[in-house]
């Protein structure tokens, strides 16, 4: 009961924050509201006992994204160009997509149902044999680092390549700016 109340309250705060981030004119304020959104979302994840997801949400959404958005504001300025609050074609697209997604969730198994297909496939094997097969005491870690080892390895390679590309691009931009100043 308490958990349900907490979840509903947090989700309510999330909706208020999201509407505020869209409605507010100052881009700095919108960035700060998005940081708040991430912190609240992380709380929702913790409340759902998905601590590792909450970790990622807080690090990426609350930390890195805020810094990246602020870095963007350095280039584009702090004020949004005046525009009507609701852009009707986009609003219609969002409402229709949302309705389709909600319709899709109607077919999903009940929340926390132990008979749901994801809990019947490979999960029992991991739970029963992860320790003897991988020697990793935590099975989320065992799945990520051992059973899905290649997946994680190449994910890391992708992120490394993206980071490398970004550094090279930004370096070039900075050198050009310095050149222009001279």
């Amino acid at each position: 009961m308490t958990t349900l109340l907490i979840d509903v309250f947090l989700l309510l705060l999330l909706v208020i924050t999201a509407i505020g981030a869209v409605a507010v004119r100052s881009l700095l304020a919108a960035t700060l509201l998005l940081a708040i959104y991430s912190l609240l979302m992380a709380l929702v994840w913790v409340s759902l006992q998905a601590v590792d997801v909450a970790f990622t949400e807080a690090a990426v959404g609350g930390g890195i994204s805020t810094v990246l958005l602020i870095a963007t504001l350095v280039f584009i300025g702090r004020r949004e160009a005046p525009a009507p609050l609701i852009h009707w074609p986009s609003a219609a697209a969002v409402v229709i997509t949302g309705a389709v997604l909600i319709y899709g969730t109607l077919d999903m198994p009940r929340f926390g149902d132990p008979q749901a297909p994801p809990h019947q496939h490979v999960a029992p094997h991991y739970i029963a044999h992860a320790m003897e097969e991988t020697r990793v005491p935590n099975f989320v870690t065992a799945v990520l680092a051992s059973y899905r080892g290649y997946d994680t390895l190449f994910e890391t390679a992708v992120i490394y390549t993206a980071g490398l590309g970004l550094i090279l691009l930004l370096r070039g931009a900075r050198a050009r700016r310095r050149e222009r100043r001279r």
């Binding site: 947090l10 505020g20 700095l28 304020a29 913790v46 601590v51 909450a54 805020t66």
Partner: protein
């Protein structure tokens, strides 16, 4: 019971800070609101951990405190100097 009361107090505090972040009026009000919500998040994660009987959530609460600091630093630097490097 004690944890529930504390949790309710923290959630109401978050609501009040959210109002401050939405209403402004200056950038500093909003930055302070974000920072305060970050602090309340740390407290609430710790509280949820003890409510669920998993006190190891405390480590995550500590991580949040660190992340909160980085974002606030970047925002303040931008407001003060208009660039990050």
């Amino acid at each position: 019971m004690m944890f529930t009361a504390a949790g309710a107090a923290v959630l109401i505090a978050i609501l009040l800070f959210l109002m401050r972040a939405l209403l402004g009026p200056t950038a500093f009000d909003r930055i302070l609101a974000v920072n305060a919500i970050g602090t309340k998040t740390v407290v609430f994660v710790a509280l949820l951990g003890f409510m669920a009987g998993r006190p190891d959530f405390l480590d995550i609460a500590l991580l949040y405190a660190l992340i909160n600091f980085i974002a606030t630093l970047a925002v303040l630097k931008f407001v003060e100097y208009r660039h990050l490097d």
